[in-house]
Amino acid sequence: MILRYTAQRLLMLIPVSFSISVVIFMIVYLLPGDPIDNLLRVGSSPEDRAELVAQYGLDRSLVVQYFVWIGNMFQGEFGQAIVLRRPVADLIAQNLPYSLTLGGLAFLFSSTVGMALGTLSAMVRNPVLDRFVRGFILLGSTVPGFWLALLLILFFSVNLGWFPVSGARGWESLVLPVLTIGFGGVALVARVTRVALLDVQREDFVTLLHAKGLSSGAILFRHLMPHALLPVVTILALRIGWILGGAVTVEFVFGRPGLGSLLIRALGQRDYPVVQACLLMLALAVMLGTLIGDVAQAAMDPRIREKKS
């Protein structure tokens, strides 16, 4: 059942990915400037230029260029970076691990701490705790990430000297970036968990569960949590692109490499193939996230499973 559902969702992604790939391919042509100019030796002739343009296949029609490009993408062939002069795949392979590590840890951190906080504030009837959590949620969803990062650096790196100021060496350098991204993530997950739990607690079946003599703990873990998990999983899955690409601010402040930084640098250098590959990777992550979210929801909720298949 779940397999069939997944397959269906996958099929639906085909036209979507096609349109996305066209959009991404076109974005690059909206960019002003020309990477060839950056590549050309100073003072070179128009002939030199034409030769380079031909070498990178930029002289063919857009349609041809698109199909060549998408064909290569399918074979995992991302082409050659124009400014950075190396296979784009190498660049992605170099940067992606940093994004995945940071994103993965931030993801773990936000989901565990966020769910714990959300559950605490929804389940424990303590107005002080609830107010604290709600205050935290408000702060976490409003404080600009870069500013938080700066404050964390000031406090933990400069004043206390616990963690490095910047860079991507060792676990120490991950702590502050993960905290920065996690802060907002925790707030988000806590909010969703809290609302979901408060909502589901009002359901009749919860009263009945109590009436069955189940302990509050058993009710929370066996019955309430799955309901709270539904929206949390959905929102987190949708955030995969957010966590991978949106880390760019944090990467910038902490001087970390990553997909977002690579994209921004490539945008600045007008390095078409890199921009395209990065955007494609991010779009892929976004689609994958949506897919995971849908499938997870279907796996957890029989009603969705039937409605859609």
Partner: protein, 293 residues
């Protein structure tokens, strides 16, 4: 709508009279009051600011908070307080303009998609859904890369970053309303689409969109600050809260007030916007309509 039940009804009955509500509306007052004050400060900045925001005095650079520079001076000896006050102008106007543009465009697009449906709807929503799950900062950065840095491009970048949100929300409202009987009746009576859209659908759909717009102004301020921090927003010496913080990490060590005060301004403003927005949602009783869109 969820069928209310014994428990829920009892809960609601007692929640309504709890002190929480009174307290919450108190918060609404404080937040709203703060925002009004902030707008006034932004409008009357030239009369309020104690110094010229652009006047340099290199001999008095990085002076700590004190007299006469209440919030200290920056690396050029400019008065931080005056820059924060003028920064409110930039940050608020950029964000509000951007959200207004975004809202107008998103409502048009969303209403059209929701009303006409079919291929048009699917085409619009495919792109919208994709950009919706794309990080707003990336959308904005790409856009600024395309048309270059500055306040105008920042405004449009923010507008584009939130376009998806308004389109989705408007479409969801329209689709929901279309199913309601009074609209169906109007359609069956053979009214013109424009008439139905403008007279019947939009007025009913507008409240949630406006509230989300209000909340988005907060997000817009954060995004503007982030772009400014990247050096892509307001160009010097125009002060914006984000641009003020772009002087680098070291400033944090040399003269933290230069970075801390604009950051506090952003955080407090956005918190006020959020609290006030929540209050608005509660007052208009549209929380359910905001869900699932």
């Amino acid at each position: 709508m969820k069928t209310s039940s014994m428990t829920a009804r009892t809960l609601d009955a007692f929640a309504r009279m709890s002190i929480g509500r009174a307290f919450a509306s108190g918060i609404g007052m404080v937040a709203g009051g703060f925002l009004v004050l902030l707008v006034l400060v932004a409008i009357f900045a030239p009369w309020i600011a104690p110094f010229d925001y652009a006047a340099q005095n290199l001999m008095n650079a990085n002076a700590p908070p004190g007299w006469p520079h209440l919030l200290g001076t920056d690396e050029f000896g400019r008065d931080v307080l005056s820059r924060v006050i003028f920064g409110a102008r930039t940050s608020l106007s950029v964000s509000a303009t951007a959200i207004a543009i975004s809202m107008a465009a998103g409502m048009t697009l969303g209403a059209a998609a929701g009303y006409f449906g079919g291929f048009f709807e699917r085409a619009v929503m495919t792109v919208v859904d994709l950009t919706w799950s794309f990080p707003d900062i990336l959308i904005a950065l790409i856009f600024v890369a395309i048309i270059g840095p500055g306040l105008t491009s920042t405004t449009f970048a923010i507008a584009i970053a939130y376009l998806a949100q308004f389109t989705r929300l408007t479409r969801a409202q329209i689709v929901r309303l279309k199913r309601e009987t009074f609209i169906e009746a109007t359609i069956n009576l053979g009214a013109k689409p424009s008439h139905i859209l403008l007279r019947h659908l939009m007025p009913n759909a507008i409240a949630p969109v406006i509230v989300v717009g209000m909340l988005a102004i907060g997000d817009g301020i954060v995004l503007e600050a982030t772009l400014g921090f990247f050096g892509l927003g307001a160009q010097p010496p125009t002060p914006s809260w984000g641009a003020m913080m772009s002087s680098g990490t070291a400033q944090l060590f040399l003269s933290p007030w230069v970075i801390i005060f604009p950051g506090v301004a952003v955080a407090v403003t956005v918190i006020a916007v959020n609290l006030f927005g929540d209050e608005l949602i509660r007052a208009l009783d549209i929380r359910d309509r905001l869900r699932g869109s």
